[in-house]
């Protein structure tokens, strides 16, 4: 049938195209600027490896898929695991019930230590008690700074989103902001809501909330533009993630607004935006440090019985502000995706 030959010729089309692309590459269709070639050259710092017995640590977070912040937490945890001869098992689910199941899963695997985020402490109470009964040490990281002690966790690394938000609000006062808008990219996300709440608590000006559809960048851009048009007195846009800050810069330009952009979290493009002044500052909770310290803390406890803060005080990883004055030192690490 000629119908099937039709589809067959279509089936090979992609392969033909790939072959053609490969041929183009050989024919010298390469870019003379940018790209990977311009980027290469920085070897990763490699440290020695501990000779302690192999142990397994489970890191269970409330990450939603594809989130830059959590990707960096995980990288920190991996770095510590590689150094401490630890096998790291990473799992995550934004749904608290599912996260509890993942902790249970780690208990069933008889891991040597569990690091967990407490975005919704009540949902994890039961399963953390079970881990303790099974003799598995549990440490907290990122969220849950006010609950970790009650739940009987060994130690805690990081800081509440609230604290980061409060620091952000104070910084906004410092730079003289009067009317700011807090852009939430995922409506109902607890961590993001806490950040805005924190800002609201300390910021002396007017703070408005704007929900945008974070899975669709063009929509984020038009929505922020619309907000700036609706209220032309807005003088600061506070975004809760680096990619959205970069989009907000475009929105400000499009709306012809004089608003400045500041953000939570960092990435490579963001550091260059701070360098060239498009973005005023970023607050950094040092997610890498949170992941690293959580794994390293469990290793220390197992091998030398140490625990940071003595079970009384949390270990704070931020808020660290990145602005024009210190961006150059940070940029180098952000380029590697670890800051």
């Amino acid at each position: 049938m000629d119908r099937s030959s039709h589809t067959r010729s279509r089936r090979i089309a992609p392969f033909v195209a790939v072959a053609a692309a490969a041929a183009l590459t050989l024919a010298g269709c390469s870019s003379s600027s940018g790209g990977k070639k311009a980027e290469e050259g920085g070897a990763d710092a490699s440290a020695g490896k501990a000779d302690t017995p192999r142990m397994t640590v489970a890191l269970v977070t409330h990450q939603s898929p594809g989130d830059t912040f959590w990707d960096i937490v995980r990288k920190g945890a991996q770095a510590a695991a590689a150094k401490d001869n630890v096998k790291l098992v990473y799992s995550a689910d934004p749904n608290a019930g599912n996260q509890a199941n993942l902790v249970q899963n780690a208990i069933d695997q008889k891991v040597d230590g569990i690091a967990v985020t407490l975005a919704k402490p009540d949902a994890l109470k039961g399963v953390i008690a079970k881990a303790e009964k099974a003799g598995i040490p549990v440490v907290g990281l990122n969220s849950g700074v006010s609950d970790w002690k009650d739940l009987g966790l060994l130690e805690f690394f990081g800081q509440d989103e609230n604290v980061a938000g409060e620091a952000f609000g104070k910084k906004l006062n410092e730079v003289g902001a009067k009317n700011a808008v807090c852009v939430i990219q995922e409506q109902g996300n607890i961590g993001l809501t806490q950040r805005c709440d924190g800002v609201k608590k300390t910021f002396e000006g007017k703070l408005q909330i704007l929900n945008v559809n974070g899975t669709d960048m063009p929509s984020v851009k038009s929505t922020i533009t619309a907000k700036l048009k609706q209220d032309s007195s807005i003088d600061y846009v506070a975004t809760l993630g680096a990619p959205f800050a970069l989009t907000a810069v475009q929105s400000v330009e499009e709306a012809g607004s004089k608003a400045k952009v500041a953000t939570f979290d960092l990435n490579k493009q963001l550091t260059s935006a701070i360098q060239n002044g498009d973005i005023t500052f970023a607050v950094d909770q040092q997610p890498y440090l949170q992941g690293y310290l959580a794994v390293d803390g469990l290793w220390l406890y197992k091998n030398n019985g140490n625990y940071s803060g003595g079970g009384e005080q949390p270990v704070l990883t931020g808020p660290a502000f990145v602005d024009k004055s210190n961006v150059d030192t940070v940029a180098e690490f952000a380029a590697k995706g670890t800051r």
Binding site: T68, M217, S219, Q269
Partner: protein, 358 residues
């Protein structure tokens, strides 16, 4: 924009509508009513109502640049809603359409960056990949006979995972590196993501592409044999096959058309934002389908138009931005959106019922 289109043309070329062929059973109804019965007129009126509503409720909307912003938002939905609508007329769904957009953008970005190629190489390979995904969807559908809901749900999940895992594997991060300083970027940006000036208002090029594609789709649907095939396979596959419509070809090519749309919007995303976040795109497929349905395309296939989804997308963009322009409580955002959309669909339905009542 032609308003004189047939909702359900016959498989063969429809006979010229002779004015003499009155057999007494149907009296000719007034022109206004006949116009109202067209599926896209209902949504057109719905869109007008929503527009007027926001012109009153939200003063900033009266500004030309606000309208340009709304049109931009609508266009990025609308460009995808067009092929999705054609596919629905052809009786199938594509749940992978949202993440496929990101797959395409990721492919172009990572290929160009990692191999330090002219970005056009990435753009062309991304097109091949997008068409390939469409081909896979269509081929699976035909081979297995499973409903497209299931097949494309599978592709949706696969692509969602692949987007994340491959990006992480290749770049070590969850987003791609910026390609804005690479060869060919400016050219590609001019095509996919530039802005031009109309009487002092900055209009995005996607708005133009959106209308061009809509005109093309309307022409294909109403004036070509292929257009008839689309209605035929969506109406009744077996009888379409019986009268010689190449069902396999039509369905697979419709899925590939969605692939083309995903590529185009993916390229827009890439060239307007320089980098791509691998987790994006989830949930967009429902917005595309919603725009098509609001635009009068039947969920069961066999009926619809290409102009309807244009207004459907406009209505969606209008409501989404209008709520912000009006400065309403953002906690209610999604609820407002849902109520407005339902309201719009109801108006649409009511107009059609009234118009077709004898």
């Amino acid at each position: 924009m032609s308003m004189t289109q047939q909702a359900q043309p016959a498989v063969t070329t429809p006979p010229a509508p002779g004015p003499k062929e009155t057999d007494g059973r149907t009296a000719r109804r007034p022109l206004a009513l006949r116009l109202l019965a067209r599926p896209e007129v209902g949504v057109f009126l719905g869109a007008v109502v929503v527009l007027i509503f926001f012109l009153f409720a939200a003063p900033p909307v009266r500004d030309g640049s606000s309208i340009a912003n709304i049109l931009y938002q609508s266009s990025t939905i609308g460009i995808m809603a067009l092929p999705v609508a054609l596919l629905m007329i052809g009786g199938e769904f594509d749940l992978s359409a949202g993440v496929a957009v990101i797959t395409s953008a990721l492919t172009a970005s990572m290929l160009s960056y990692q191999l330090t190629l002219n970005v056009w190489v990435g753009v062309i390979v991304a097109l091949a990949v997008s068409l390939g995904i469409g081909l896979f969807n269509g081929w699976m559908l035909i081979k297995t006979g499973l409903p497209s809901f299931l097949v494309t749900l599978g592709t949706f999940l696969i692509l969602q995972g692949v987007n994340l895992a491959v990006t992480k594997l290749v770049t070590g991060n969850v987003a791609t590196d910026s390609i804005s300083d690479m060869d060919g970027f400016e050219q590609a940006k001019a095509i996919f993501a530039s802005t031009f000036d109309v009487a002092g208002v900055q209009v995005k090029i996607t708005v133009v592409w959106w209308l061009v594609f809509a005109a093309l789709a309307t022409w294909v649907l109403l004036r070509t044999k292929y257009g008839n095939w689309i209605f035929a396979v969506g109406g009744n596959k077996e009888s379409a096959r019986a009268v010689g419509v190449p069902v396999t070809f039509t369905k697979i090519s419709l899925f590939m058309l969605v692939g083309f749309g995903a590529w185009f919007v993916g390229m827009h995303n890439l060239f307007s934002f320089n980098t791509v976040q691998s987790g994006e795109g989830v949930g967009q497929e429902l917005i595309y389908i919603a725009a098509a349905v609001i635009g009068g395309c039947l969920l069961t296939g066999g009926a619809g138009s290409a102009i309807g989804p244009v207004f459907g997308a406009f209505m969606f963009g209008m409501v989404q931005q209008g709520i912000v322009y009006a400065g309403w409580n953002p906690d209610w955002f999604k609820a407002f959106l849902g109520v407005m959309l339902l309201g719009a669909v109801l108006i649409n339905l009511w107009v059609q019922r009234t118009a077709t009542r004898r």
